[in-house]
Symmetry: C2
Subunit: 210 residues, 2 copies
Amino acid sequence: MKEKTGKVETDPSTEEKIKNAARTIFHKKGFAGTRTRDIAEEAGINLALLNYYFRSKEKLFGLIMMETVQGFLKSMTDVFNQKDTTLETKVEHLVSNYIDLLTEHPNIPIFILSELRNNPEEVVSKMKMKEFLMGSYFFQQMQEAMQEKRIAQVHPLHFIMNILGMTVFPFIAKPMLTAVGDMQEENFNALMQQRKKLIPQWVKSMLATG
Amino acid sequence: MKEKTGKVETDPSTEEKIKNAARTIFHKKGFAGTRTRDIAEEAGINLALLNYYFRSKEKLFGLIMMETVQGFLKSMTDVFNQKDTTLETKVEHLVSNYIDLLTEHPNIPIFILSELRNNPEEVVSKMKMKEFLMGSYFFQQMQEAMQEKRIAQVHPLHFIMNILGMTVFPFIAKPMLTAVGDMQEENFNALMQQRKKLIPQWVKSMLATG
DNA sequence: GTCTATAACGTGATAGAC
DNA sequence: GTCTATCACGTTATAGAC
């Protein structure tokens, strides 16, 4: 038994083992590409147990999807409505949060977005993104930043897309880069760490450009 | 019969109808999520005919995947090795090409990248991206541009990721934006048209930043 | 070339013993 | 709670008539 943060580290419960296995496989292969047998094997348990705990593949998938989306959005919500930080700081935190999250779980973006493609309303409708995004203090700060510079106004959404695009896209395109550019896992991660500093700088210069 | 570019417009052959249907469905649902029955129905033919022409689902999929990737890369290859255009012009063309392509076929990026996630080597190995990218004149021009400014050197790959990220990511995230931000299809497309001019400007300011 | 009918197989889910 | 064995169904692929 190993000690960790003062708690005894027990073996994960069967339910937990199944969920962990499901997360791994679903993230990698998507709903349609996943067989419940694979999840059971990955979890080291029997197929019947999966249905015993989670009733059906769909139920289990829904659970994983919800947790995944929540985790992904948390990196945003944590930052977007801080009242006492500058825009620059928010961008730094946002980029840093996502690069850390995606370095550890690189499959999340494709997983979410490719499943979203099938049932756009199902998942998204629960998230109230519009109020969350357009009503956020972050959004307001962006508009102010552009007004100060007296530059041609562009929709703040453009900058959101840029930040997320520059941050998230490399992880989405990672299979291309690693499989092709004879880029090793470590090299890729090193590049991503560099981007924690680079992206905020670029965003700053873009905001000045308009 | 309608005339078009001097050619008589005939009905597409059965083979062509099946391929068109397959492209539509595969792009939308991926390999695992697609049923050959759906392709047959979309093509308005019988299921048996699909196997008569293409032997198997896998064969048909491989064909569609190859054509799709080629079409996607063509927008790059067309631009990357032009010797007589400036870096700025190349970026403009690249961005414009992709925004036009993706406006018409918005599912292509998720399709390619989510299928790539399953068999990275299969598809990618045939493309020799490394030589193509790192050896391109475009790549060289980027390095020169940075040297001129005497700024801290960053790997040119960062800028490639930025350009593709800013250009492609919005289409990948489109389901989120449209389903949530009560963003209409037309509004989205209008934003993308704006980006044809904006992205090259931003890239320019980024290159000056380093 | 195109169809209907059906074979062959894989997968999700359950029954029932322990 | 956990397992083995099996059912029930959907899907790919093919046989064979036209």
